[in-house]
């Protein structure tokens, strides 16, 4: 079963993270699934390899969570990486996706932390909602992945890997 994100949910997510970006004056905000795939991002990502970033963030988060277990914590829901100029704040949402805020000295850790709390509540609700939809599979939008799609994908594969 896939993690499916539908039009409306996607726009709600984007609205929330764009608000977070503006309120914090961060550089960028990214939402990543636990398997390392980028769901969406906002802000200045022109200098960022977002695909690699997503993959590494998910791995970083997964590794840190195992560390938590080793010291007897259930998990570390937040991570903070501090650099000379840039910092990362990483937050788990609904046990399913990872929110990453990239920021520098134009804002403060305190502000980022407070604003992430707000955003987390909103995103929690949206992601929960998505998960329920996927479970009940009632959404009208589950289209596109029919046999035609699969056939075309296969010939695309033949072309790419010939």
């Amino acid at each position: 079963m896939s993690f499916q994100i539908f039009e409306n949910d996607f726009w709600s997510i984007n609205e929330t993270i764009t608000k977070l970006l503006k309120m914090t004056n961060a550089i960028s905000v990214l939402l990543i699934d636990k398997a390392g795939q980028l769901i969406t991002s906002t802000g200045d990502i022109s200098q960022l390899d977002t695909t690699a970033f997503a993959s590494l963030s998910a791995a970083d988060f997964a590794a840190t969570n195992q560390l938590a277990k080793l010291v007897g914590e259930k998990n570390f829901n937040t991570l903070f990486h501090q650099g000379e100029n840039k910092n990362l704040y990483v937050q788990l949402i609904a046990d399913k996706v990872i929110l990453v805020v990239v920021f520098d000295s134009r804002t403060s850790l305190g502000l980022v932390r407070v604003r992430i709390k707000h955003a987390t509540d909103e995103l929690n609700a949206i992601i929960q909602d998505i998960m329920n939809k996927i479970k009940t599979n009632k959404d009208e939008n589950v289209v596109g992945l029919d046999t035609d799609f699969k056939k075309q994908a296969e010939s695309e594969l033949d072309e790419l890997f010939k």
Binding site: S2, I5, F10, Q37, I39, G144, Q152, A153
Partner: protein, 192 residues
């Protein structure tokens, strides 16, 4: 678990190269990276030890292009094959959509192949996954070396389910794309 985004029209799937240490997983992914056209690939990320053994994973995103309006991508990962890196290996399996098991054909590595395959099944089990839900293909690598098991032997021992399997010499690129193509098709068919 593949990600299907109906708003941005994107699909991404995760394929993992699994198998014993030094079997040739990283070699597979490096060969793919070297051959695929620049617009169909992203950066290759390798988290390796100083001696070039995989420490956490290698990662290579591959773009399939636009399929009926969906930008479709495969994310290729390798796990660290060395036995004592199991904690990391397990993490990489999270959300896997398809697995390539890279076996080392050398006779003296047979036991290691069996152990690694068993370890893979155990790690999948921890995510409530099994071979009924996750497609698997096998690659018998290092066919260029002198002291190797026959394909029949490997099939009997490693592949009782008669899944697709491929002979390979990953250092020369032989069998690398065949194997990737086979798992990619299974992953696409398995999308739901």
């Amino acid at each position: 678990m593949s990600l299907i985004n109906y708003a941005s029209r994107e699909i991404s799937c995760k394929i993992v190269y699994y198998g014993p240490g030094l079997g040739g997983k990283t070699t597979n992914i490096k060969y793919i990276y070297s051959k695929i056209s620049p617009n169909a690939k992203g950066n290759l990320i390798s988290l390796a030890t100083e001696l070039d053994r995989t420490l956490f994973f290698d990662f290579l995103p591959v773009n399939l292009g636009n399929i009926r309006g969906f930008k479709t991508r495969f994310h290729l990962y390798t796990v660290p094959g060395q036995v004592y890196y199991n904690a990391s290996r397990k993490l990489i399996l999270k959300g896997v959509d398809g697995i390539i098991f890279v076996a080392d054909s050398q006779v003296e590595r047979l036991e290691d192949n069996i152990d690694s395959l068993q370890n893979m099944l155990e790690n999948l089990q921890e995510y409530n996954l099994n071979l009924a839900s996750v497609p698997l293909v096998l690659q018998y690598n290092k066919r260029d070396l002198p002291n190797i098991s026959t394909v029949d032997e490997l099939e009997n021992i490693l592949n009782p389910q008669k899944l697709s399997s491929f002979e390979a010499v990953a250092v020369q690129g032989i069998g690398v794309f065949e194997t990737l193509k086979a798992i990619s098709k299974l992953v696409i068919r398995n999308l739901s």
